[in-house]
Symmetry: C2
Subunit: 344 residues, 2 copies
């Protein structure tokens, strides 16, 4: 066992959480190495990626928080060792980690006992992590370490929302409100790979330009265009598929602009409760679908998309000791694509 | 042609509409007979049924009202004649009429040009009606005239919502809020025929008893039970499928009580706008589906359910000259099942 002759590892930990200080609660510390249990694979992490979930935990805005914890759901690294009976990729293989533990047998819905790694299960903001071998997948050969590390939670969330739940095809016109977030950049990537027409919105012209460089067909600034709903509906009669993580007024307007027979997939609600007009829903015979994370099948299908034709959007790589600055960048949302941590 | 030696027919007409007087605007008058055009079948109506839509039209609460009009979407009668090239059931056959005109080829969504008979197309509150032959179906042999007349619009709306959209199976626990309406009684009928477990709610113990006599497994009075949501969730962990026509607070609570991975189908919104909490939607990975009327395939599949094992709920049969009283009964909702008109 690798762990036998090591003396510990560096890891980001949270000992306290509060709404105000939030990201400032992250600290880099020396902790004990994990040891791979039966059926587990030990991965030496090289890059981790931030998700909004990590920031929510630091702010106390997540259910069932256990402290201290090592956050982080996304990791890229190399296989360091296998526990008893583990059947993961060979030691030394470059891998990414499926962040969902114990999804269960039903593609439609996770077990109530399912978890995302990074609290309470140890996360990827550490030099080593032990996870079930089935969660360890060879990293796409076409991608750099940074690009591959950006994928896991955002990629699977986007893929499930857009494809497994939304059923996106090349004939769809897809609306992506608020294109800057990590997940929404993956929605854009996958929608363009499928061949759909994509409309993106943002309050930032910089983000809209980035989205256009990634293939967005129509980019609309909802701050400077007073009637962005009309602009959206002017594109082929409006979207047939919306992928939304805002809720609130954005969701209400998204339902209004969606075409007859269209679908609206929701995987988040940063703006909170939304108004729903029953008439819009039943008269246009819409489908409104909730989506969270993804099943092991979703993850494998998602990873297979990275066949050399597409690359994840990476905003910036921070050193491990800059974890507070990285978390603040995620919190403020002034970014495009994923925020990474170099684990050393 | 039958029409050649007739001198006219009795029909219910609306010349004026207003919010206040609503149902009092219906009048019985002598009007010209319709003549079946090419591809049309003329039906002599014996029984018509009321839908809320007819009352909404009388109150001016429907888009694109054209006056004067003969309302009525549901009719049972006998084939009187065929227009040129029409291929309907033989003259004399007892038939019901599919109320949807021009649905189009897509099962998922109607054409924007689709209509429901009974404004602007002449409705069934008249001695004769000419409709496309494809809309004329032999009435189920096991049903009386009253029972068969109760079926069309409410039956197809219920069937599409529960089965075509909701995908109801015998393994579902179906919640039917507000079980008294015509459509909801059909949802109950079909759900029990499929073998699902059914929970109904109402503010009326009389309606709850009627629903139990039709097979409802659990009946909850939401006025007298302070925590009806908890009562509903106590049944096998809550509904896997909800069929709602209320919207408003009922919809919000229905989403709250729905099981992980469940579906909520909405075909109406009598209580108006609803609040939707994104977290409930995405965390439980719900499907919320809008449904309206039904396609020709929905109608044919629905009609085939009446194989002798189930019977529609009929509230009362009114004489044609009692049309105002019938409309007022529909408006007040103090009924269980369909309100019929005997056409003479």
């Amino acid at each position: 066992m690798l762990c036998a002759y090591r003396t510990g590892m560096r890891a980001v930990r949270l000992h306290e959480i509060d709404r105000e200080r939030g990201p400032q609660n992250f600290r880099v510390e020396q902790v004990d190495d994990p040891a791979p249990g039966p059926g587990e694979t030990l991965v030496k992490i090289a890059r981790a990626a931030f998700n909004r979930r990590d920031v929510f935990i630091s702010q106390g805005l997540y259910p069932g928080i256990q402290l201290p914890c090592i956050p982080g759901s996304d990791g890229l690294g190399t296989v360091a060792a296998h526990g008893e009976g583990a059947q993961g990729p060979a030691v030394g293989t470059r891998v990414v980690i499926d962040p969902t533990l114990g999804w269960g047998p039903d593609q439609r819905i996770w077990l109530r006992t399912a978890q995302v790694i990074g609290m309470p299960h140890q996360g990827t903001f550490a030099e080593y992590i032990a996870v079930p071998s089935g969660n360890v997948h060879p990293a796409p050969a076409s991608l750099t370490d940074d690009e591959a590390a950006a994928i896991p939670l955002a990629g699977v969330t986007a893929y499930r929302a857009l494809v497994s739940r939304g059923g996106c095809t090349k004939d769809d016109v897809v609306l992506i409100p608020g294109v800057g977030s990590g997940v929404q950049t993956f929605v854009l990537l996958f929608a363009k790979k499928i061949g759909a027409k994509v409309i993106v919105t943002s309050s930032s012209d910089v983000k809209l330009e980035r989205a256009k460089s990634m293939g967005a067909d129509v980019a609309i600034n909802y701050k400077t265009s007073e009637k962005w709903e009309k602009d959206v509906q002017a594109v082929d009669g409006g979207p047939s598929l919306v992928v939304d993580s805002a809720g609130g007024d954005t969701f209400f307007k998204a339902v209004n602009v969606t075409r007859y027979g269209g679908r609206v997939v929701v995987y988040g609600g940063t703006l909170g409760d939304a108004k729903l007009r029953p008439f819009s829903l039943f008269w246009k015979q819409l489908d409104i679908m909730g989506s969270s994370m993804g099943s092991p099948r979703d993850f494998a299908e998602m990873l297979a998309q990275f066949d050399g034709s597409i690359k994840p959007a990476v905003d910036k790589v921070y050193a491990m000791d800059e974890v507070v600055a990285a978390a603040e960048a995620v919190d403020k949302g002034a970014k495009f694509g994923k925020v990474l941590l170099a684990i050393t």
